[in-house]
């Protein structure tokens, strides 16, 4: 099982971070400046931070409710189930990027909600596969956490969009000051 955990770990982490970065940049793209590096970087940071928080909460709660699994297969076994499930965010992330950058949509919350709920359901399946049987706890916990985080994203992304304008303003002031100093 240890080899299975290590196999493809880097790729899983990369794809997970890319998915959340895509959600963040697609959600915080500024219609007037779609390729502005400030909005892009801010979106990527927000997306990846959200992803880290989501995965941490899942790891904590599923770890606490699957102690026997950790004793049997080691501490990283829950992470394996979660990171395999989170791979299923990739289709939603690609579609969110298409919607934001090709179809010019400004609302991409639906992609995150559907992605998180699908990932939650897949984490349940992955844990069932590892454990050899399904449990109510492992069915409800990933879905419950995904639902809460989906709601958190829907509410929080509006505030992040406002914050991104302040960040952009702040960066512009700093750049003007820096240009003034150089001259």
């Amino acid at each position: 099982m240890n080899e299975e955990i290590k196999k493809g770990k880097g790729l899983r982490t990369l794809l997970r971070n890319l998915s959340f970065a895509s959600f963040g940049s697609a959600a915080l793209i500024y219609a007037q400046k779609p390729l502005s590096p400030v909005f892009l970087i801010f979106g990527i940071v927000v997306g990846i931070s959200f992803g880290i928080l989501y995965k941490s909460v899942l790891s904590l709660l599923l770890g606490l409710s699957n102690k026997e699994l950790k004793v049997e297969h080691g501490n990283k076994i829950i992470s394996l189930g979660i990171s395999r499930g989170l791979l299923f965010l990739v289709p939603f992330a690609v579609m969110a990027l298409l919607a934001a950058y090709i179809m010019d949509w400004t609302i991409t919350t639906g992609f995150v909600s559907a992605g998180l709920m699908t990932a939650g359901a897949t984490i349940t399946m992955e844990l069932e596969k590892i454990k050899g049987k399904g449990t109510v706890k492992n069915s409800l916990l990933p879905l419950g956490v995904s639902f809460v985080f989906s709601a958190l994203w829907s509410v929080g992304i509006g505030y992040m969009a406002i914050l991104s304008l302040y960040v952009d303003g702040g960066v512009n002031i700093l750049l003007s000051l820096a240009n003034g100093l150089v001259k």
Binding site: L87, V90, F92, M95, M103, G110, A114, T118
Partner: protein, 190 residues
């Protein structure tokens, strides 16, 4: 009397499969898909896309961008998309998965793929109600939302056919989802 009872059981099976495909597709695929004729499953995808495109037409009409004709043209295009294009995509998926030792039959793949849009059909019904009763613009929230929910069952279909090949499921579901979104955008702009 017996045939009436059978008809009732059959109806119940169809409704429970539609709900199951939305909530727990893996369970539906293990126990129910074999009992659903493929032509009934394409009615589900036909209705799903008919309702989705109908809402697109209604939204375009409400915003004053197009005349009322667009409502019927969109609905027709959606029905054709769900009845013809989706089963064809299912057949293409079967062909691709055959190369990766896919074990399921063509009719099983088309049935399962078309029924993946069960959630989209239910979203479509709710969207139409909100569009007609409350005057909301529902194509993106309910229409696209429903199509996005199909991604999960599509991945489950591919996993089931390939005995759990996650990577393939993710790649193919991404391509299918992107194709459906792009083709809808193209049709909405004609």
């Amino acid at each position: 009397m017996i045939s009436l009872k059978n008809e009732e059981t059959h109806k119940r099976l169809i409704f429970s499969t539609i709900l199951s495909m939305m909530i727990n597709p893996k369970k539906a695929m293990k126990s129910k898909i074999d009992q659903i004729p493929w032509f009934l499953s394409i009615l589900v995808s036909g209705l799903a896309f008919g309702l989705f495109f109908l809402q697109t037409g209604l939204d375009l009409f409400k915003t004053g961008l197009r005349s009322s004709n667009i409502i019927f043209i969109s609905m027709g295009a959606g029905l054709a998309y769900g009845l013809i294009v989706i089963p064809l995509m299912g057949a293409l998926l079967w062909l691709v998965l055959k190369m990766f030792d896919g074990e399921k039959s063509l009719s099983w793949t088309i049935t399962s793929f078309s029924l993946s849009y069960s959630g989209a059909m239910i979203y479509g019904i709710f969207g139409l109600v909100f569009s007609l009763v409350f005057g909301w613009k529902t194509a993106i929230a309910f229409g696209v939302g429903g199509v996005l929910w199909a991604t999960g069952p599509i991945i489950t279909t591919i996993r089931e056919i390939t005995k759990g090949k996650n990577g393939l499921g993710i790649i193919l579901a991404t391509v299918i989802g992107a194709l459906v979104l792009l083709s809808w955008t193209l049709l909405a702009n004609i």
